[in-house]
Subunit: 294 residues, 2 copies
């Protein structure tokens, strides 16, 4: 099976590694506008062949794993070039706009809109790791708009790399993901900024940094190339989450300023409920970051 | 050597485990107002003997690892009860107030003010783990006010469990730690609160949560009993960090609202510098959380 990966970075590269491990007869073709990344992906064995957009006619599966603004521009052209039996799956963190842009495309039924809830703060072909998708949720949007046989082909692949499937409409996806992913990145980036600014005046402040800081600021290492278009495309939802986050921070600040530490305690005590919610997420994911970080 | 641990939770318990491993002739005596915790610590082998405040006269070393408000109340009494050759080390996350309260105490020279930059989001005797302090920084305040022979005794112990020593005045400690530790906890608690509030209306939102959310919200599992008094004692510094954090978040929000995504990119790009700062912290600490979490 000829599988074309467009974007040979963390997501595309990790997808390629697991898919190749999963079945003998898979050949991975890489397409990347960054020639250096493409060479690196080949050297690392992430892909078996370098390819270009002109080769897409041979593709049986195309996995589109590039920043969401680039994906919007490229997806229609990819659909124009593929054969009728090829399924194109994207991996973007926003789903409404990409679904809208191909709404009327003659090959809409060859496209499956997906978002794998998997990743690390690292990027590029060297960030590609095995088993990144194992037991992770893969959000599928507008599945009914994809040809049934091509849905089946995609599902076989998702099963092969161990993903759990969940169906959702694009609007709900973008609203929910703003809370559990996009807001986390902003809170982390701004935490990093706040401490970096302080360090300019107070030297060696990071000698005091421990696991707590490292964990909360981890996402501030993420790629601006990837995240800027996500915030742009999901602007309204992200602004809503930011407003609620800022208002919660202000409230906590006022409780402290007015010495209402009974309520400060209650705020934290109620939020401890997050423990039950996080069961099963943290450990696996920390492990993944670990392996990657080494 | 008779070592008394007051507070047999995560910090006191982990200190006890490593110290016992480090030298044959150490006997660990546990004191805890929570009788159930004391029994648990004994069963888990975290301590070898249960003890009370009345036994402190026999202590050669006392390690005070209880919430900082309780430590303020208890430390003078501990100093009243110990012998002249006993050193009392605290582990509190705030240092100004505890140093001030014992300023005029006749046994001030028996006290060493310390803050180990080590921990996880878990608490209680069952959270105690080995090697928690290995290669971690131990901040020592007002070392000159501790009797030299007792400094030596404490340093021998810190070396035995593999801690790096750093000296700092209490005011600088409290100002710096507000940025790299206290603010991280608030940002994480409020992130958890924001998403939990949203989940009331939008079900299953956490099916979309991945590693990024788990990492940024990890500290929201921390103990309110421990953190409320920290925020109270370090109020002025924490309010300053909160104001800067909130203002950075508002600025980011305005950049998004006005579609200035070039500057949104730059904000994240500049903050990526945090990568270099975090080298060496993340992996070890994630590993520790991991072992603990299992």
């Amino acid at each position: 099976m000829k599988v074309f990966i467009i974007g040979t970075g963390l997501i595309g590269g990790s997808f390629a590694l697991d898919l190749k491990d999963a079945s003998e007869n898979v050949q991975i073709y890489g397409i990347d506008q960054n020639e250096a990344h493409l060479d690196e992906a080949l050297e690392l064995g992430v892909i078996q062949h370098k390819a270009t957009m002109d080769d897409l006619g041979e593709a049986e599966v195309v996995y589109l794993a590039i920043p969401v603004d680039a994906a919007m521009k490229l997806l229609p052209e990819v659909l124009d070039r593929i054969s009728d039996n090829c399924v194109v799956v994207d991996a973007g963190s926003t789903k409404e706009k990409i679904c809208r842009i191909v709404e009327g495309h003659p090959k809409r039924r060859n496209f499956l809109a997906a978002h794998p809830i998997a990743g690390t703060e690292f990027s590029g072909p060297s960030a590609a790791i095995r088993k990144l998708f194992l037991n992770k949720t893969n959000i599928i949007c507008e599945v009914e708009k994809t040809a049934f046989k091509l849905q089946e082909k995609a599902m076989t692949i998702f099963n092969a790399i161990g993903m759990r499937i969940r169906y959702m409409d694009p609007a709900s996806h973008d609203r929910h993901i703003a809370y559990v992913s996009h807001l986390s990145h902003i809170s982390s980036f701004m935490l990093g900024k706040t401490v970096l600014e302080k360090e300019k005046n107070e030297r060696d402040i990071f000698d005091l940094a421990g696991s707590g800081f490292a964990s909360t600021v981890r996402l501030a290492k993420s790629s601006p190339e990837m995240w800027t278009p996500i915030f742009s495309q999901n602007k309204e939802n992200v602004l809503e989450t930011l407003d609620e986050y800022i208002s919660n921070l202000k409230h906590f600040r006022e409780l402290m300023a007015s010495n209402d530490f009974t309520e400060v305690y209650e705020e934290m005590n109620r939020t401890n409920h997050i423990k039950t919610v996080l069961n099963g997420i943290t450990e696996n994911e920390n492990l993944k970051t670990l392996e990657n970080g080494k």
